[in-house]
Amino acid sequence: MLKNKRDVAAVVIGGSAGTIQSLLQLLPAIDATVTIPILAVVHVPPRRPSLLTQLFSDRCSLPVREPRDKEPVMRGIWFAPPDYHLLIEEDQSFSLSLDEPELHSRPSLDALFESAADCYGDALIGIVLTGGSRDGARGVRAICERGGRCFALGSDGTDDLAIMPRAAVEAGAKVSTFDEIAGLFRSLGGDTADGGLRP
């Protein structure tokens, strides 16, 4: 799938608060040599302060930050600040917004994924973990329409997909196991032979 990791300019990933455990396994495993931005939306309660950056920066070798408005998108792991939508401008800077929650969520996966699709086109990978809303599906469609690739986390028997990954799959994401997604992240760094997800 990732024949050439230079084809990938950014990864967007998201899910509900219940996916923090998955992220705690995925993100710390990302190699420190990865040069692209990993942009994450987690549905967390709106009140500040967010503990996500602290939780992850202690464990990850890449820098973990919450962006400020118009900050340039650099390498590392970025979390949407609680109670803001996180968007990517075409000049590869972050924009924040306090527009209404989408599908009851702010931040929303759709807002990040759709704006990132406009910015990165076919060089974007989108990953939907799990959750109980359809947030992320519109974003997956936008990424796929521009030639990017999307993956949704399935349990290993793929019958009981949660609402969020199921909606993502209907929108064009490929059902993937946890190990496949972990492999994808591994394949972004260093010169590993592990190609991660196969088409």
């Binding site: 500040r48 400020r68 408005d69 900050e71 917004s97 306090l98 406009d118």
Partner: protein, 267 residues
């Protein structure tokens, strides 16, 4: 920005004299998409025809594009720092001017006025509260908010170091909470566009919170230039907690207060 978006924004600028051309593109695009649904238009071309022909539809579009959503005492630490670090310096002035730029429906104006009242400064203050959204300004002037919002506002107020109960400042009736008129005795509500108008007065404090997140960098630079010109040296600028001057052309004109809660000082 694609050609249809450009054509719409240019037509609005030329015919309606509202300039949204330098709004941050990613959120503008989402809002235009919301406007298509709400105003039942099939395309941006339809939307353009509609808002040029119909004042009511144009008002609705301005509301959608300027997002009048706010809270009283949003980000309690911002108001705590205002009370603990900004207000003590304001005490040294015989008269004080503040500017709430992009005041929307006024929640922030009342929040600042309450702190100033509690710190014994409100009588000496003149507050300019400006926005381009006429309907939001009317709401701000009226100072009546849905009663079901007051629980959140009260919690925020308490966390910010409020000295009473927020209910001290409002009267509840008919499902609304009406803020005390005394709070706005020295407030001037006025139409002002950060995109096209200029500085109108020197002020000691400016707050402009979560307004510039909707602007692109060129417009942010313009607005921060206005703020630099309106503030004396050591004057205070309060932004949203996720905003910064660091990524603008005027980064060198402001220094951030160490708390990093959105407060800056003019250098």
């Amino acid at each position: 920005m694609n050609a249809d978006e450009q054509a719409l924004l240019f037509a609005i600028y030329e015919r309606r004299h509202y300039d949204f051309r330098s709004y941050a593109h990613a959120s503008l695009r989402r809002r235009l998409s919301a406007a298509l649904t709400e105003l039942r238009c099939r395309s941006l071309g339809d939307l353009r025809d509609k808002v040029l022909a119909d004042d009511h539809a144009f008002g609705a579009l301005v509301r959608i594009l300027t997002v009048p959503v706010s809270e009283m005492f949003r980000d309690a630490d911002f108001f705590r720092i205002f009370r603990e670090q900004v207000v003590p310096e304001l005490h040294t002035y015989p008269s004080i001017k503040l500017w709430v730029a992009g005041c929307s429906s006024g929640e922030e104006v009342y929040s600042l006025a309450i702190v100033l009242a509690e710190e014994g400064l409100l009588d000496r203050c003149l507050i300019y509260a400006t926005d381009i959204n006429a309907q939001a300004l009317a709401q701000a002037r009226a100072g009546v908010y849905p009663i079901d919002r007051m629980k959140l506002f009260s919690d925020n107020y308490f966390k910010s170091g409020g000295k009473h109960s927020l209910s001290h400042y409002y009267t509840a009736a008919y499902g609304g909470a009406a803020l005390a008129r005394s709070l706005t005795a020295n407030v001037v509500f006025s139409d002002h566009s950060l995109a096209t108008d200029s500085v109108f007065s020197e002020v000691q404090v400016i707050t402009c919170r979560n307004v510039m997140i909707y602007f692109d960098r060129s417009l942010q630079d313009r607005v921060l230039g206005l703020f630099r010109d309106a503030l004396p040296r050591r004057g205070f600028l309060g932004l949203g907690t996720k905003e910064s001057v660091h990524f603008s052309a005027h980064a060198g004109d402001f220094a951030e207060l160490p708390a990093r809660e959105g407060w800056f000082r003019r250098c």
